[in-house]
Symmetry: C2
Subunit: 317 residues, 2 copies
Amino acid sequence: MADKVLIYSRFPKTMMARFAERFELLDTGGKKATEAFSADELGGIRALLTAGGSPLGAEAMDLFPKLGAIVCYGTGYDGVDLNAAAARNITVAHSPGANAASVADIAMTLMLATTRRILVADQYVRSGDWAASKQSPMMRPQAGMPGRRIGVYGMGEIGRKIAARCAAFESEVGYFSRTKYDLPYQYFPTLEALADWCSVLMIAVRAGAETQHAVNADILKRLGADGYVVNISRGSVIDEKALVAALTDKTIAGAGLDVFEKEPHAPDALTALPNVVFAPHIGGHTLESHVAMQGCVLANLTAFFEGKPLPYAVKSA
Amino acid sequence: MADKVLIYSRFPKTMMARFAERFELLDTGGKKATEAFSADELGGIRALLTAGGSPLGAEAMDLFPKLGAIVCYGTGYDGVDLNAAAARNITVAHSPGANAASVADIAMTLMLATTRRILVADQYVRSGDWAASKQSPMMRPQAGMPGRRIGVYGMGEIGRKIAARCAAFESEVGYFSRTKYDLPYQYFPTLEALADWCSVLMIAVRAGAETQHAVNADILKRLGADGYVVNISRGSVIDEKALVAALTDKTIAGAGLDVFEKEPHAPDALTALPNVVFAPHIGGHTLESHVAMQGCVLANLTAFFEGKPLPYAVKSA
């Protein structure tokens, strides 16, 4: 009999095909687990697969008395209550680094699209305004990448890949993280100092209680009227209300956002703004990134059911 | 009395302010020179400033019997008949390299925006389709940058900057140019071979008679159904009709275009396509690029009126 895995979050069916070859999947299809399956079925569950950003606390864990492994699809595991898991002897695992390049690339895409105003540019050509030689204030020359000061918030695998890419664009790179690393970029001891220095703030920090709303009205003000913010981490790191205000009153010049506080919802006040480029949380959304993340999931689940240590277990609980 | 310079192409007035401090400008404002000024006025013109892509042949040169210098704003000078200029002892000068980083950056912007489908992504969020969990075939995962084969056509300053940036994205880089250089990228002896190998063709070659329609139906077919073409050079390098056909029948996956055959006009059949990202020839359009190009123009004009060799003269005529 195949080992059973509860699919706790909503994933595309095509994506689940590779897992279904090895495990019996109980797919909630986005419904509550208790609505999708009987208490009896849930009682036998030893492993579940979830999106790391989806809330998964003590109460949910208690639905599965035999649960031994929570496997997150992707790098993040901010939705999982690590203390509650540890108290129940549940191992939490993820897919570290598997999507780092893909996420770093969406950060670069959003930064370039925002600073070079590519949405406005595309519309200017498509609408015929260019052919009609209509003036467009939004198409005035902007600062480019050489010499631009890019501030990277968080220096994990994604932050390092963003920094390396920005350096190739002849930009200056600075960063703030809890730890100062041996890297060829300027270290700033606080987020405030980084925001004062840089003109683009790239948010690549791991989400959690200590980074909740770290990018607030004060930080945005420090970025200034020529400043941009790009977020490919989690929506929770930015105070979204403060961001809407800063974009509306031109406290900052623009933003590129792949993540939001309440996905898949982005506030109307935000999506109405012309100086933002949006993406629907597609940072890790490339073919090779999915293959790599699926590889981590399979390795984690296989090891668990064989009674071995999970290769990509989250280190500290 | 200040030296007179005829402004032969249409430039923003704000951009001319720096030149007006040093020279007396006769600005055609985009009109024909003979309509804007009397034959007498034109007869005294010794230097003119033009956009390098604007046609400027023997007949036009003969309007200015005293013309000694044609100064192009930007890197290109493909609109200028070099043989006609040489026959009249007119020096042609440009702004080499001044906008190379800015143009390379728009190439990267267009490649990333096209391959990661950022226009569709932005619209998917803004329209509310994401919030409504609507399926979007255009939002399926695509190949990312690591391991992607990028073919650079032309290895001048812009091509080299594109190649360096792509390498930082962990892509493989190949190139075709008349000359094989000592560079850490794979050299292909023909454009056909490069197109067979790569999945993104970045056009960075200098425009001219020998590159006219070099990217034709055959080259596009070699790129294949997963292939993209990005053009930041000149519209003349691509057979635009063949491109429209290839994009329409999915011979290739998409395109990113900053330049067109008949600017500022882009054909309706092209601008109606969803798998293209457009920009209105803004490659060199950054603040620092304009400052650098203006520096070259001032240096060229100053040297000319002082009777010295022009520092950025076009080498071969």
